[in-house]
Symmetry: C2
Subunit: 145 residues, 2 copies
């Protein structure tokens, strides 16, 4: 048996998160959900993903409590749970990193705007408990036994 390595027993929260949303499609599905997609067809058109893959990913996201199905007329829709909504900073972080490093200068890309003033968001900052801004070098991991 050579199944994909799972990280759901790891003590590192990053590993557990990656275990759930670390595949190619899940975070893009969540992104589309933030952007208003609710129906199977919405996701499929937006992503261009094969239907069996989408089906499996939606099921996995529902199983993991990130999406839930709600009845909508005769069909049902997929909507973010609180757990799914909480992925917003993850998606924003990926978006801002992509904007900064994955496009050539001047290359057009979609933007995430504040509805109120139609301006891009402020870049994410990591702060210590006392409010100081910190970089990776200012932090350390305390491992747990």
């Amino acid at each position: 048996m050579v199944k994909r390595t799972r990280f759901d027993g790891e003590s590192c929260p990053v590993a557990r998160s990656v275990d759930v949303v670390g595949d190619w499609w899940s975070l893009l599905i969540v992104r589309d959900a933030f952007d208003g997609s609710r129906r199977f067809g919405d996701f499929q058109r937006s992503l261009g993903v094969a239907k069996n893959i989408l089906s499996a990913r939606l099921r996995s996201l529902v199983d993991n409590g990130i999406l839930e199905t709600v009845p909508a007329g005769a069909r049902h829709e997929y909507v973010l749970t609180a757990k799914g909504e909480a992925l917003f900073p993850v998606v924003v972080a990926l978006r801002q990193w992509g904007e900064a490093f994955a496009f050539d200068p001047g290359e057009p890309h979609s933007q995430l705007l504040d509805r109120r003033d139609q301006q891009p968001l402020r870049p994410l900052e990591v702060h210590a408990a006392d409010g100081r801004m910190v970089t990776a070098a200012d932090t350390e991991v305390r491992k747990v036994d």
Copy 2:
């Protein structure tokens, strides 16, 4: 030809980011790099990943400018570039989400601490350009043609 779908031509920065670091191992390698791993063996012991996989992932991260190899004695080491360091908010976001949603209450997990006061970091917040805190519902994506 049924290769893995690539997102490197997408106009969405999230998709481009996922294209680079959206597999199971890459972000964990980056996490370990933040945590001080530099040698092939460091990563291998920490992750328990097969050597061929690690080799391929390190090569991919180097190709994508996230890690670079620097000579160190007879061998070389892998260190984060500026582009790699910029993934810090992504890793922090995943970590905080994992802490909040991927552990049972009371279940122990590793923690990321500020070196200065040994306290956990403040949860990430998404802010608009004017400093207002925003949620997903306060934002919208402007697509580009």
